[in-house]
């Protein structure tokens, strides 16, 4: 008996490296973005602000009751407007916005938009 179909054992081993899974992995696994390194010059407030808003400085900060976990993320926002001039025209504008969600050690929760 001879099997002439797909070599499934080899294919199964190679599947994790498939380009299709690599692209789909961004949706399926949403792997964490890691940034490590030592900047050549000290970061000033503007740099820190940009990094924080991008979600690259998420973590635990503060002391005592002000200790908190921060989570910054860029979110896509769609603004819809309707114009009626005989016909209804719906316009959608997509833009990116930054949101900060904070949880304090006391249990207080806040969302800053």
């Amino acid at each position: 008996m001879v099997y002439r179909g797909l070599p499934l054992d080899e294919v199964e081993d190679l599947l994790p490296q498939s380009a299709a899974y690599r692209q789909a992995g961004r949706i399926l696994f949403a792997e964490p973005v890691s940034t490590t390194g030592r900047p050549l010059t000290p970061l000033h407030a503007g740099h820190v602000g940009l990094l924080a808003c991008s979600g690259l400085l998420n973590g635990i900060f503060g002391h005592n009751d002000e200790r908190h976990i921060s989570f910054w993320q860029a979110v896509k926002v769609v603004d819809k407007t309707e114009e009626e001039d005989g016909v209804i025209t719906v316009r959608e504008k997509e833009r990116f916005s930054n949101e900060l969600t904070v949880v304090f050690s006391t249990g207080q929760v806040a969302i800053l938009k």
């Binding site: 499934l8 299709a20 399926l28 635990i60 979110v75 949880v103 969302i111």
Partner: protein
């Protein structure tokens, strides 16, 4: 890994036209589906392998929202559709001495919306793995929740206690459906901290996740029974994505 044929399923697509019927059967290595009613199922992920033209046909059928039949170990024959706006990703697997094998991964709109920042208002999250740390990580990424990995067990217990996590049909993975919104999850976290059921880590710093997704891990123990000891594969009705065309 040996005996992959015992782990793979079959995806069948039948296209009936005026005077011909085309039937395509492809190997299915991963599948996530949600049973809607008896016999019908909403597919969230299909991953199929085959020849160039067969995979192209399946891609077209996904775009046209056509129905497929899925058969797999542990899954009875079900009819599935990916619905509107499914996303397709194609790749090629090269094996020495053979023609390349085409690979297609199709993802439903609902699963695609679990990508971070895409649909933060959604209340249903389909996940490809049931590992508590992975579930917490993906939920946190989707809803921007400030959490730490140490809370994964607590979060999983809360989901189970409130019946907001449900296992769904899966091939080669253990998918779950998590119900709940950002508002609900933040309320749980706030209450958990106030009631000392969860606590902050001792030191300040970045939150590091060590994710051990079992999506590509093959469980050998499931298929030891019935496997050929000499590694000979039994006769398989599916050749390289066989197409059968005949009069209707």
């Amino acid at each position: 890994m040996k005996n992959a044929h015992e782990r793979f399923g079959v995806l069948e697509y039948t296209k009936r036209m005026k005077d011909t019927t085309t039937r395509i059967r492809l190997r299915l290595d991963r599948f996530i589906g949600e049973v809607e009613s008896e016999g019908t199922c909403k597919a969230h992920l299909i991953s199929v392998l085959g020849g160039d033209s067969d995979v192209g046909t399946i891609w077209a059928a996904v775009v046209e929202q056509n129905l497929f039949t899925v058969e797999a170990p542990g899954i009875d024959s079900i009819t599935v559709s990916l619905g509107e706006g499914a996303q397709c990703f194609r790749g090629t697997i090269n094996i020495a001495g053979r023609r390349p094998v085409r690979h297609l991964v199709a993802i439903s709109t609902e699963l695609a919306k679990t990508r971070p920042g895409t649909d933060p208002e959604g209340k249903r999250t389909v996940l490809c793995d049931s590992d508590p740390t992975f579930v917490l990580y993906r939920i946190a990424q989707r809803y921007e929740l400030p959490v730490v990995p140490e809370w994964a067990t607590w979060f999983n217990e809360e989901l189970t206690r409130r019946g907001m996590i449900q296992a769904i049909v899966g091939l080669g993975c253990s998918p779950v459906l998590v119900r709940g919104s950002k508002k609900v999850f933040l309320k749980w976290i706030g209450r958990g901290l106030r009631q000392n059921r969860i606590a902050f880590p001792v030191s300040n710093g970045p939150v590091c996740w060590s994710l051990a997704s079992s999506f590509f891990r093959v469980d050998e123990s499931d298929h030891e029974e019935g496997s050929s000891p000499d590694g000979i594969r039994p006769a398989c009705p599916i050749s390289n994505g066989g197409i059968t065309t005949g009069g209707s």
